[in-house]
Amino acid sequence: MAKVKKGVRLEHISKIYNDPKTGKEFYAVKDTSLVIEPGSFVTLLGPSGCGKTTTLRMIAGFESPDEGEIYLGDEPINELTPNKRDTAMVFQSYALLPHYNVFDNVAYGLKLRKVPKDEIKERVMKILDLVELTGMEGRMTNQLSGGQQQRVALARALVIEPSVLLFDEPLSNLDAKLRVTMRTEIRRIQQEVGITAIYVTHDQSEAMALSDNIIIMSKGVVAQMGTPQEIYYHPVNEFVADFIGEANFLKGPMTGRDGSFVTLNIEGNPLKVEGRDDMEKGKEYTVVLRPEAATLADAGGLPCKVVLSCFMGSYQNYHVMVGDTLVKLEEHNPKNKHIYQVGDTCCLVFDPASVHVL
């Protein structure tokens, strides 16, 4: 596509709503600033009510921000109505026009733009080919499966060649297997077209699989923005660590330092981990330990007691108590390993460089 790619910039955006029950005002989105690079795939991830959909709808123009300005490229777009914005949205419910067939649904935006008939036909067929729906153009939308309807919705958004593609939880109405297939499709198509995409979801694996960058939102503010790796390995707080994947939190005061490594006192045991320069002796710190990063052994590491041992196929799931702290573990490829049983006492072992101190 010949178009210049555009990014999206949010500057100090806030949106205030009334709580329907109490009637009180609250910030659905509060003082949020974001830069979304041209051509990148960015996911807004968070639990329901975190403000991600509101943010997306403000970018689309359905909602107006109470503070701040939204830019598409370098152009401020606050005052533009959705039909004048160079964005196209893929809706959660697909929102296909039920009285049109597949072709007319995809052609709708082009007809509104008064594109010549021949060109409409050519562009629609090209896009239907891209989303692998060739031959379906005469079908009514209710004769399509959920996945096919989603492809039509995607084709309809792509065909008008918007600067930015917006996705509002587009896969949440599909079954689990189809979700996985469709998300690879979406990523493939986005890469092929090279379009800027903003994707809202509450499904962290979807976010991981799709995104160049993930923005984690909580209670109306951005908790962290970064690549999937940054967010997974270096979460900024417990909320982010817990929301992306499973996380165990080990808490204790710092007792000493040895170069880049520090020693913390965890439930009465010394634990050596890779630390930061700004850490101070005596202060309490939290260590994030991913379930797959640790293993159980007869000696070394932190002493613990097994309270749950459960075979899950690809891994053995353990819950162990380190003092009063519950730690969840995933021992992968358990076939030829020693399996600890409930009540066994053993040790929790991990590489000091594979944990992250908050």
Binding site: S64, P65, P82, F91, P98, H99, L112, N142
Partner: protein
Amino acid sequence: MARGQSAALDRKKLMADPIMVTTIVVLITFLTLFILYPLAILLVDSFVGDGKFGLSIFKRIFAMPSFTRAITNTLKVGFLVGILSALIGLLFAYVEVYVRMNKFVGGLFKVVSMLPVVSPPFVLSLSMIMLFGKAGIITRFLLHIYDNNVYGFWGIVVVQTLTFFPVCYMMLKGLLKNIDPSLEEAARDMGAGRWKVFADVTLPLMLPGLGNAFLVTFIESIADFANPMLIGGSYDTLATTIYLQITGAYDKAGAAAMAVVLLCITLAMFAVQKYYLEAKTAATLTGKASRGRMLIEDKSVKIPLTIFCSLAAAFVIMMYICVPIGALFPTWGYKFFPLTGKWFNQVFTRYHGFKAFKDSFVLSFISAPITALLSMIISYLVVKRKFKSKGFIEAVSMLAMAVPGTVLGVGYIRGFSGGIFHTGFLQGIYGTGLILVIVFVVRSLPTGTRSGISALRQIDKSIEESAYDMGADSFKVFMTVTLPLIKDSFLSGLVTAFVRSITAISAIILLVTPSYLLITVQINEFAEKGAYSLACAFATILIIITYSAVLLMNLFIKHFGTSKTMKED
């Protein structure tokens, strides 16, 4: 927190859509000018009609014994008709939903629910007089009673009950169907008999709904003009008293004050119905029936209920059939054979039948599409868009539902005969066909809006948003998405508006000038004069027109309706 920016932005976005802004401005002007203003002028007139502000006019009308009697009369009739209609409606609804019926009885029920929709409002008064009056077939020829008096309180009550109970029946049927059968099965399972289940489970669940049906009928009864006019005799209700105050006593200020009193009563009822009972009904009966109900097959219940309802239904149907037959008898009450077409003939040769039908038809034909389109636009704005004056538009179009036709008629006389605020501005429309069209539109708007709103609520908001997002402006969204999706509702709104307009009388009779002959007014006139055969002939042709319109609509929806393709979802 400051929400000024989003409000300002929303306003700017709205302003960027000139068609939308124009539509809203036009709508607000229309509603203000033709609903709010006539009501406001009534208030003004009744407080300052004699030059100075005060209650003197009210004092004067309340000193009239005829007026205070009319108030008690109206309330008495409304109360009794409300109760009877709700109870008979409940019985019919219960039998239809709970008792296994054969096809014939089911057919009877369907006809009964359909008749009041397609017939002019006062047909039953006509047939009541023809069947039970002094020269009535049943009273005089079968029972040999020569001095039966159908006029007065009982005449109105019977006729209004028979006219309005089908509405209650349809309302309550919908509610009964929404009761989850497992609730009643649970009670049965715990040992309650069928009567106990009805008294302890079904009835309490239905109470708000029954109250609702009662109030809706009460309002209809109070607002009814044609039936009390025909069969009331010397028993005057508010609507007829107001009419006589204008046409007989030429006391426009007094009529205005009386109209204000009538309006206050209906508004109060309407407020209770809308804000209290409707919410309660929705709250108790939200559940959808999870599966089919075990129908009552027990003969000791089934046979008496079916027989009673069939007889009642047959009676109602006979009353309606009486009208076309009455138009065929050579002399009603004396000579029945041979059947003759002379009355129909006279309608067209001597009584300007063609002009009457042309005028009625053309005026209704013009106002129906306007009404249908306006109500769809209002529903679209109310359900799908947000803007500041939305509440105003919704409230005023609903308010029109509570305004009796007679009140509106008086308001138009006071409001437009001397121009807006008696300044002469817009005086030109008074006495023309235009004002009749406007009255038709205003009278049918609330029903259309109501059905439009419920149709639109079922359409996922994001479908329109997606079209908007694709680049369509509001007008395009409405034309290419909204309207096609509620085609059925639009069509039925069109036909309902047409039928309501062509059968309307209460407001129109006050505003029509000799240059327009309307069928309903003609029927009323001939019936008043005692020329029942002619009235019947007019009414028969009117029923044929409305019935064909409804048939045509059903045919059209069946073949081109959206519901067929949408239902497969």
